[in-house]
Every structure is written in C-alpha cells, then in structure tokens.
C-alpha cells in the first residue's frame, strides 16, 4: 500500500490514528504494532513471517548479548551471528538471482535461479535491526526488554517500506516515553500533506513524462528530449523519495515520534560530497557509521582511504538494487568522491557558486540515468543519445511538444527543489501580525485546495508507482 492512495489516506490512517489517540499510553505501542502488521501484510501477506523472524532473531540476540556478553569475545560472537543471518537473508532474497545470473553469464554455466520475489522494505528493516545489534555491541544502546516495543520499532508503518532508516539509538527512549500533543499532530499532518502533494502532483507527473520519453525509439529522441527525460527522472525520484520521507516524518510526528530529516534539498548541492550529505541522509550516515568509519575512514593513509571509499560506494550502489546499473551508479559516485577529495575539490570550491551548482546538478542528473535504466544495453543506448550532439538532432518538435505539455510542472518542480519554502517561512516569521495572518490564511487555503486536487489525482488513479520495490 503506498501512502498516496485512497485506502491508506481515507481508511487505514484515520482509523489507526483514532484508535491510537483513544487508548491509554500503555496500549499505544500495541495499536501501532497491529496496524503496522496489517499495513505490511496488505502488500506482503506471506513475507511478513520473514520480518517477524528477523525481529525475533535480533531481539533474542540482544537479550543474549546482554545476559551472557560479559567478554568482548562473546559479544563479538553474538554480533557475528546476527549480522551473518541478517545479511544471508538479505542476500538470498535480494541478490541470489543476480549473483547466479552473473556467474552464469561469466562462466557460461546453467545454474537455476530461485526467482525469489523481493520482500518489500527488506533492505530498510534489515539495516534497522542491524543498527540495533551493532550499537548494542558498541554499548551505545541498552538491550530492549520489551519485544512489543522492539517489533513496533522495526515494523512501524510510516518508515517500514521506504525509509528513512531510523536507528534504534535515536528512538529507544521515545518507544517508552513520548509526548503526543495536538500541536505535534497538526505539524505532522501538514508535513504529511506536503509529502502527499509532492508525490501525487509533481513526482507522478514527472515520472509519466520520463516513461513516455524512455519508450520512444532512438530516431524519435533528440538530444534535448533525452536530457529532458533525465531531468524528469531526477525530479520523479527526488520528489517521490523525499515525499515518502516527508510523509513518514509527518506520520511519526502525529504518533509522537521525532525522526531525523532524510533529505535537505540535494538538488541544490555544490559538489558531489555535498550532495551525499543532503540525499537519503539516513542511508549515507548508516554506511558512514557502520562501514566507512570501522574500516578506518580517512585516517589510515591515502591508499586505504581510497579503498574504503570504493567499498562503501560499491555497497551503497548494491543496496539500491540487485542489478549492474546500481553498482555502476555507486562506483560512479565513489570515483567522483575520490576525485573531489584528492584532485579538484579545492579548486572547485574557489569557483563561482553557480558553476559549483551546475557541476553538481549535471553529475546528479546524469547519475540518475544510470540509476533509472536497469538493462545495460538500453542504458548504453540512452547515454549515447544524451551525448550524440554531432549525429543526432539537438532539438525537435517533439521536444517542444513535451515542453508545452509539462513545462509548468517542470518549472514548479525546479522551484520546489530549491529551498524556497524555508525561505518563505523565515520571511513569514518576521512579518507583522496582520500580514502574517493574511499569509497564513492564503497558505492554509492553498493546502486545502491542493488536498482536494491530490484527492482528484488519487481517485483518477492513472499512474501511481512505488519505486522502491528493488531496494
């Protein structure tokens, strides 16, 4: 169930919230848990068992580590057990087909692929449970005694299927004590609405044009059309993914939880390094804290630093899907980060700001082309189109046609990809009382209108994809 659909928004969420607010605090985790399990079972009626197994495993491991983990050696044993089992499950369900296909391709063998269907959200919840065990090993959290609380943490529907990856350390306290206030409920609902508008009104539109361009034949695609397609996919992914985080953070807030921000206007980054501080922050900090720093980060000499970057970005790419293009995408960023660290990073920082923005933006847009097309042959063709300045028409009437049809949506996307909203909020805060009343009323009215419009789009329900089924 995606958040931006009729069953979720008009039935599941209100019912859940009404019950959640009605019951005493000690029951709230229970209500949340029941609804989360229903939410997961709605999309994955069978694999919910896998998720339950995963939580039982790590909960038990945590208790055992607490009880018997008196020496470092024993603690390491429990840690390794948990990590091995978690990664094996992930590897089997997510990567088995890919590995076997790659081996068959390389060696010409004929091993049968298991053709497992990928459980939704497995990459997100596996990383969440692993964060618990690793933090516990490091002594950064206390073992959780309540299985209900632990299962609630892992399965919580706001962040279960598309992130952000919430770390147990950040939320353990809140699982047992949290403030649920009308004020937070209001903030949360409005934040959720922001996400809903981004997903339904921007991301889905940009995505529709991307799919249309992608389906064109090479002879119908001018260079400008190809770049327009790449831009549209960039907007689709950013507005879709950040919208999920907005909706998750908003719903978390309505339930009394405070999640960390997951996106900070990544398309306005001034370098690749900066981009990764702003894009899917919960994933990049996860890799930083649990892979990059344990490997030694940048403190063990240049060759080791380069190796660490390579490992982390190979894994980051692989995390996004079991396909070569995702690995290529990770490696692409790994190499660019190395170059920024050791070759042109300092020179880049001295250039005018607009050059830095353009540089990062083009790299990101091109990167998402690699991300978008899983078939390597098709990817190669599309990249050729992007750069066929000499052999292909630069722009044709079809490009102008798309521009006419989608121009306004693209302009709105461009504006919203920049931090215009926080800027307006700051301005609003400094206004006089009367003026801020008028502004509030206008903003309030727009929210209501956009809500009606989003409902219209959801009811018409033509194109509403869930992009993270590969994650």
């Amino acid at each position: 169930m995606v958040f931006s659909c009729i069953p979720f928004l008009f039935f599941f969420l209100p019912l859940c919230l009404i019950l959640y607010y009605a019951v005493p605090f000690s029951w709230k985790n229970g209500i949340l848990l029941i609804f989360s399990l229903i939410f997961y079972a709605w999309g994955e009626p069978l694999y919910i068992l896998l998720m339950l197994f995963s939580t039982v495993l790590d909960y038990t491991n945590g208790r055992l580590m607490e009880r018997f983990g008196t020496t470092k050696c024993r603690r390491t044993f429990f840690l390794c057990c948990s990590i091995c089992i978690n990664l094996s499950i992930l590897a089997f369900f997510k990567y088995a087909d890919f590995v076997i296909a790659s081996v068959n391709g390389l060696l010409g063998t004929q091993f049968a692929q298991p053709h497992m269907h990928l459980p939704v959200g497995i990459s997100f919840y596996t990383f969440q449970t692993m964060s618990y065990i690793i933090d516990l090993y490091r002594g950064e959290v206390k073992a959780e005694h309540s299985y209900t609380a632990y299962l609630t943490y892992v399965s919580m529907f706001p962040q279960l299927v598309a992130g952000p990856i919430v770390r147990f350390a950040d939320i353990q306290e809140q699982l047992h004590h949290r403030n649920i206030t009308l004020d937070k409920m209001e903030q949360g609902l409005l934040r959720f609405m922001t996400g809903l508008f981004k997903k339904v009104l921007i991301a889905n539109q940009a995505g529709a044009l991307w799919e249309e361009i992608c389906a064109l034949g090479a002879s119908e695609t001018s260079v400008a059309t190809a770049w327009l397609g790449a831009l549209c996919f960039t907007f689709q992914l950013y507005f879709d993914f950040s919208a999920y985080s907005d909706m998750a953070i908003g719903m978390g807030r309505m339930l009394g939880f405070d999640y960390n921000e997951n996106f900070r206007y990544p398309l306005t980054a001034i370098s690749v390094t900066d981009f990764w501080r702003r894009w899917h922050i919960s994933l990049s900090t996860w890799f930083r804290d649990y892979v990059y720093i344990p490997l030694g980060g940048n403190r063990k000499g240049v060759p080791r630093h380069l190796l660490n970057i390579a490992v982390v970005w190979f894994l980051t790419g692989l995390w996004h899907g079991a396909s070569w293009n995702f690995i290529l995408w990770g490696v692409y960023y790994g190499i660019l980060l190395m170059l920024e660290k050791y070759v042109w990073g300092k020179a880049l920082a001295k250039l005018p700001r607009w050059i830095q923005h353009t540089y990062a933006f083009l790299i990101v847009v091109f990167g998402f082309v690699i991300f978008a097309i899983t078939d390597m042959g098709a990817l190669g063709n599309y990249i050729t189109l992007l750069f066929s300045f000499a052999s292909n028409t630069l722009a044709d009437t079809r490009f102008l046609w798309y521009l006419g049809n989608y121009g306004i949506v693209i302009v709105i996307a461009c504006i919203l990809a920049c931090p215009v909203y926080p800027w307006l909020c700051r301005k609003a805060a400094s206004l006089s009382r009367g003026k801020s009343c008028v502004l509030s009323a206008l903003a309030g009215l727009s929210v209501l209108l956009l809500f009606v419009l989003s409902t219209a789009y959801m009811v018409s329900d033509t194109y509403n994809p869930f992009l993270y089924f590969r994650f």
Binding site: P7, G404, D461
Partner: protein
C-alpha cells in the same frame, strides 16, 4: 508557513473532517455498477479467496474498488482533467485536446500492417475476381483530415502512408476518400468533437468517393430528409478525457424517402424497416443508434433500390453511418462485422451468387488497434 495558530488549527480540522466525511460517505452510499461518464463498468468488490490474498491481487482490487466508488468520483475525475488542461497539457489519456473544441485520437505507429496485408491478400486471392467488383476503402480519422486543428507540435504519424502501403501490398482496388474528406472539411463537421467516428456528413463524403469510383450517381444531400436526433452526444473520447465541461455533439441522421427497407439482424432475428435505433438516444453511447450497434451480420433489403445489384459490406463501426447512403443503390446489402462474424465471409459468398460487389471499409485507427479485420479470412 502557517504561523497563525488558529488558522493552522482550522486547516487541520477541515482536512480531518474532509477525510472522515469521505470515508463515511463511501461506506453508507449505494455502489453504482456502471459509470455513464466514463463509459465503463466499475470494479466490484472482489470475492475473498486465499489465492487472491496471497498473491496480492485482492488488495489491488480493493484499491480499484475504493477509487471507483469514491464519493463524487465524477467531480474528482473531471477536476483532474480540468487541472491538467489548466497547466498546459494538450494530451490527456492519449487524446489530443485540439482547437475548436475537438478531441482527437492520435494515430499510433501501426503495429499490424504486415498481418493485415497478409490477410487481405489471402482473402482477395480466394475471391472470383472476374465476377465480383471488389474495393478496399481505408478511411482516415480526424487526426489526418483535421490535422490543422491539432495542438502545435503534436506528434503524428502519417495514416495515409500506411493506407497506401496496404493498398499496394494487398492488390485490392483502392478507394481513397481522403481528398474528398479534405475538400469537404470546409463544408461542415465531418467528425464528432467528442467521439472517434465520422459524422453522417463525413460518411456522406466517403459515399461520394465510393460513387465516384464505382461510376454511380450519388443521391444529393438535399433530396434526403435530415433529422437532428440529439445535441447531447458525449462520445468515447469525451469519456477518455473526462472534462465534463466539454461541448457535446449533435447527431444528424439522413433518410431517403424513396427507399423501402427491410433490415434483418440475423443474430437476434429482429426485423425492422429503419437503419436507426433511436432507443440508443437514451443511453450514453448514442453512436450505437446507427444500425442498432454491433451485429455480426445484418441483411438490408431495399425494394426501391436503383439497381438489382447486391453488396457485401465488410466493415467496422465507421461504416454504420455510411450504409444509409449506400442502401439506395443496392437491392440487398449484407453487412459483416468481422470482429464478431466467425464463419469467414468467403464461404458466405459461394452460397450467395447474386452478390455483385464487395466493399471492405475500415477506419485507419481501429484497423490497426482492433484486429477484427483478420476475421475476413
């Protein structure tokens, strides 16, 4: 940005009320079976089965069911279309929103040209070409004749190029009515604004092209009785675009007072004296009034025909509005809809040796998208 606490509270309150009232309305309101505006049956609540639950089909259909029966669905669907038009979209649900209130179906790149010509070749080879006068008429749709009304830069492929390729490859003598239609475009409305069919006037120009090719003297439009049967026709394209403020169409039908018709619908056994069934004016798809919608085989006898010739007309729904003009020239017309007539018209021919003419009439869009023509062989 909503800094005022009271306004924020009011907005949140209104959203919550909106969500809850919609949910309650959904639960208590009766569920419609059919959407007139969208011209389709709405999803029913699926039966619960273990298989459907576990492969996820059940939850998918719940989603469709909720969306289809959502309170005020027509308002929301229409709002979406209005919003898209407002932000500059000229193509909605694969239909061009063209000038002068025309909705025009694009011509998609043909996929089946080779299979169609193969069928036509086989069909043609089997016929007795010395005894029969055979013609193929591929009618362009509004996208070709009204190409000047299309939105600027709208992508289009050339229908008549495909038609020529089919004419050449099949070897069947062609009747190209596109010039007749182009010339007639200034004389009146040749295609419906909201439907993919040609109007009766459009069909009349097609008829003129046919008469010209056959050497027949066409009946003049003035000598026919014209009757405007509806001004409230919202056709198939209207239902795809769902902009409910769109201007609707007028249907005019023509009857020849000289004709003396007996129309027999072979599948139902119904016999009547009219080529129109005006009962369809009460329904959404008013184009069905021509030849009583779809029938595999219709026999039309005209005792006052200008000749004793008999015509075998193999066609799609476009031809339903040309038959009233052709009827005057033939003692008998056998009308085949090859999407539904399963026995192959060729064997029918050998049983009916009075047939003198064969006309294959299809429009260029459904020719490729609806593979009914393959039923001719």
């Amino acid at each position: 940005m909503i800094t005022n606490v009271k306004i924020k509270r009011a907005v949140v309150f209104l959203i919550c009320i909106g969500i809850l009232s919609m949910a309650v309305c959904f639960l208590i309101s009766p569920k419609k079976e059919f959407s007139e505006n969208e011209n389709r049956y709405l999803t029913k609540l699926p039966p619960l089965s273990a298989k459907a639950v576990f492969d996820g089909a059940y939850t998918d259909s719940i989603n469709d069911w909720l969306a289809d029966h959502f309170p005020q669905r027509d308002f929301f669907v229409g709002l979406k279309s209005r919003a898209e038009i407002a932000v500059g979209r000229k193509e909605i649900n694969h239909i061009y929103v063209a000038e002068d209130d025309y909705l025009i179906e694009p011509y998609a790149k043909p996929q089946n040209t080779e299979r169609i010509t193969d069928t036509l070749v086989k069909f043609y080879e089997k016929l007795d070409q010395t005894a029969l006068d055979i013609h193929l008429m591929l009618v362009p749709t509004a996208v070709t004749i009204y190409s000047d009304k299309l939105p600027t830069y709208a992508p289009m492929s050339d229908q008549m190029a495909t038609a020529s390729a089919i004419y050449d490859a099949s070897g069947i003598p062609a009747i190209d009515c596109s010039d007749w239609l182009s010339d007639g475009a200034s004389q009146g409305q040749l295609y419906y604004r909201t439907d993919h069919h040609w109007t009766t006037l459009g069909a009349y120009y097609g008829y003129l092209a046919y008469c010209d090719a056959k050497g027949l003297t066409p009946v003049s439009l003035e000598s026919l009785t014209a009757q405007t049967v509806t001004e409230d026709f919202a056709g198939t394209l209207y239902s795809k675009v769902n902009d409910y403020s769109h201007k609707k169409d007028t249907i005019t039908i023509y009857t020849n007072p000289e004709d003396d018709l007996t129309v027999t619908y072979i599948d139902t056994g119904e016999v009547t004296d009219s080529l129109y069934n005006l009962d369809y004016l009460e329904e959404k798809d008013k184009y069905s009034l021509f030849l009583n919608n779809i029938h595999p085989l219709i026999e039309i006898e005209n005792k006052a025909a200008s000749s004793q010739d008999e015509l075998m007309l193999i066609k799609d729904s476009y031809a339903n509005s040309i038959v009233p003009f052709l009827a005057h020239h033939y003692r008998k017309i056998y009308v085949f809809d090859t999407r539904y007539y399963r026995d192959g018209p060729s064997s029918f021919l050998s049983d009916h040796d009075k047939i003198t003419d064969v006309l294959l009439l299809y429009n260029m869009n459904t020719l490729d998208s609806d593979t009914g023509i393959r039923g001719i062989y």
